[in-house]
Amino acid sequence: MWEGMIGGMMTGITTTMIPINIAMVLMGCFAGSFIGMLPGLGPITAVALMIPVTYGLDPTTGMVLLSGVYYGAIFGGSTSSILINAPGEAATVATALDGYPLARQGYPGKALAIAAYSSFSGGTIAVILLMFFAPMLAKVATSFQSVDYFALMILGLTAVSAFAGRGGVLKALLMVILGLMLSTVGTDQTSGIQRFTFGSLELLDGIEFLLLAMATFALTEALSIVLKRDASSDSLKPKMIGFKSLKVTKKEFKFITPTILRSSILGFFVGVLPGAGATLGSFMCYGMERNLASKEEQEKFGKGSLRGLAAPETGNNAASSGSFVPLLTLGIPGSGTTAVMLGALIAYGIEPGPRMFVERPDVFWGVIMSMYLGNVFLLFLNLPMIPYFARLLAIPRKIMVPVILFFSLMGVYLVTFNDFDIQMMVLFCVAAMALRLMNFPMAPLLLGFILGGLMEDNLRRGLMIYDESISFMWERPTTLGINLITIFILSLPLTRSLLSRFRKKETPLST
C-alpha cells in the first residue's frame, strides 16, 4: 500500500511541478478568489465559468485549474462574508456569523487572516487524509461491475436529497428526476434512436452540460441580484483594510489551533459523504465547536468569536477536499461543485470512477498534489492580496451584472459557436429562475443531468449481463450493500422527523 502511495505521490509531484500546471494552480486560486468574492457567486458558478478556458488544455491541467478555482472560490466567499456580510454561497454563511461581527468591531484584517490560516490548515490536513483514503477506496472499487455503478449512482443521487434542508427531500428528489429527464434529450447512445429532439439538429447531441450549468447557476445568480435589488456590492468601503491589520497574535493562534484540528477531521469526513459538501461541513464544525466551548465562550459565538470563525472556515475547506474522494474514486460527485467538475471530466473524455486511478494516475494524483500547492498559494500569495481583491467589491452592480452575464454567455458560445445555444441558455435560465423562486434547489438537477446518461448505460449493461432480470439488486452482495446504504440514507429524514415529533410529544408531559 505504502509503495503504491509513494509512487502515486511522485507521479502527482512530477505532474504538478511542470510550469504550466503551477501556473494553472496559481491562476485557478486567483480566479476562484476573485469570482468567489463577488456577492451571489459561489464555487459552482466560478468552476462553471472557468470550464471553457480548460477545453483547450490537457485534462490534468484542466482539472488542476478547476480544483484551484474551487478552493479559491471558497476562500473568496469568506472574504465577502466577513467584509460585507454577503456570503458568496451557502458554505460561507457560517463564516459570516462571527466573521462579520469581528469586522464590525474594527478587526476586518484579523478576521480575514484567521479565515485564511484556518482555510489553509483545514485544506492541508484534509488533503493528507484524502491521500490516504482515496487510493484505498479506489482499489476496492476496481472490483465494481456495471450494476454496482448503477446502485452507486442511485446512492449519490438520493444522498444529495437526503442532506437537503428541512422539508427539502422531496423537492431535491424531484429536481434529480428533472435533471435525469433533461439527460434523455438527444440520441440514445446504444440504440441510436432520437429522443425529445423535436426534429432539431441542434438537439441531436443532447443538451450541453456547460450550457445547463451556466444557465442554472451563473445566469440565474446574476439575474437574482437584479431581481432582489441586491445593492450589497455598493456598500463596502475598501479603504478599511490594510496590510498591518492582517496580524494575528501567538496567543490567538494557540487559542484556535485545537478548533482547527477538530474541524479539519470532522469537515473532511462530512465532505466525503455524497451530497453533504462544504455547507454541511461548515455548519457541523460550527455547531460542534459551540457545543464544546465553555459557557462563557459560548456566549461570544455570533458576536465575533475567534473559534466561531475558525471552525466553519476550516470545516468548509476540509469538506471541499473531502468531496473529491467520491469524485475521484467512484465518479460520484460529493457536492454541486464536484458535480460540475465531473461533467468537465466527462467532457475531457475521461470516464470517472476507480478505473481512473489505474488508467489516469496523472489526473488522480495530479489533482491531489496540486491541492497542496493551491493551499500554499492561497495563504502566501492571496492573503497579502486581500486588500486589493476587496476593492472588487466596490465595483457597482450596474457594471458587474452585465459583465457576469456576458462572460456566462460567451463561456458557452466560444466553445460551441452556435447562437442557438444562447437562446437555449436564456430559456433554461428563465425556467431555473422560476424554479428557484418556487424554492426548488438547482444542484440536484445538475447532478441528475450529469449522472443520467451513465446511469442508463450501466443499468442497460447490467440487465444484459443478468439476463434482463433486476435480481442483481439483491443477489449481488456489493450491490445489495450499496442499496442498503441508500435505503438507510433515504430513511434518515423520515427518522429525524419521527424523532422530533416524539420529542415534541414528550416535552409537555415532562413539564
Binding site: 422539508g167 451584472v401 422560476a434 424554492n439
Partner: protein, 159 residues
C-alpha cells in the same frame, strides 16, 4: 397557495407531457423485443416525476420558507429590469451571427449597463470596449480560435 406547491404543479404538468412524448419515441422492430428500450428510462422518470410532484402537492409543506406564497416571495422585485435583461440576452443570441462577436458583444454590454441605470457614456464605453477587445485578442491571437466576422460584413463586402 404555497410556492412549493405551485412549483410541484408545474413539474407535474411537465412530467405528464414528458411521459406522453415518451410514447412517441420511435422503436425499431428488434428493439421492441427487448426489455430495456429507449423508452424505458423516460417512462420510469415520468412516473417518478408524477409521483413525487403529487406527493409535494398533497403532503403538508414542512419547509417554512416554502410555505410563503409566490406573490409574497416576488413582491417588490425588480421585474422590469430583469425582463429587459432577458430580452437583451435573447437579442444578443439573434444578432450574434449577423453583427459578429465584437460588435454584438459591445452592444450587449452597453445595453446591459444602460438597463441597470448607468448613464455615463464614457464609463460605459471604457468598460465595454476594452473588455471585448481583450477577450477577442485572447481567443483569436493567443489561443488561435477562429471567430467568424458577422454576416453583415460579408454583405457589405468588407471581407
Amino acid at each position: 397557495m404555497a410556492r412549493e406547491k405551485v412549483g410541484a404543479l408545474v413539474i407535474l404538468l411537465f412530467s405528464v407531457a414528458y411521459g406522453l412524448m415518451a410514447t412517441k419515441i420511435p422503436l425499431s422492430f428488434l428493439s421492441r423485443q427487448e426489455v430495456f428500450t429507449a423508452r424505458t428510462m423516460p417512462y420510469g422518470l415520468a412516473v417518478a416525476g408524477i409521483v413525487l410532484s403529487l406527493a409535494i402537492i398533497v403532503l403538508p409543506t414542512v419547509d417554512p420558507s416554502g410555505k410563503k406564497s409566490l406573490s409574497d416571495e416576488t413582491r417588490g422585485m425588480d421585474w422590469s429590469t430583469a425582463i429587459l435583461l432577458v430580452v437583451l440576452m435573447l437579442l444578443f443570441g439573434l444578432v450574434m451571427k449577423w453583427l459578429g462577436f465584437i460588435l454584438s458583444s459591445i452592444l450587449f454590454l452597453l445595453g446591459g449597463f444602460w438597463i441597470l441605470g448607468e448613464r455615463r457614456i464614457k464609463r460605459m464605453i471604457f468598460s465595454a470596449v476594452p473588455l471585448v477587445l481583450i477577450l477577442w485578442c485572447i481567443m483569436s491571437l493567443l489561443l488561435g480560435v477562429y471567430i467568424a466576422p458577422g454576416e453583415i460584413f460579408y454583405q457589405l463586402g468588407v471581407f
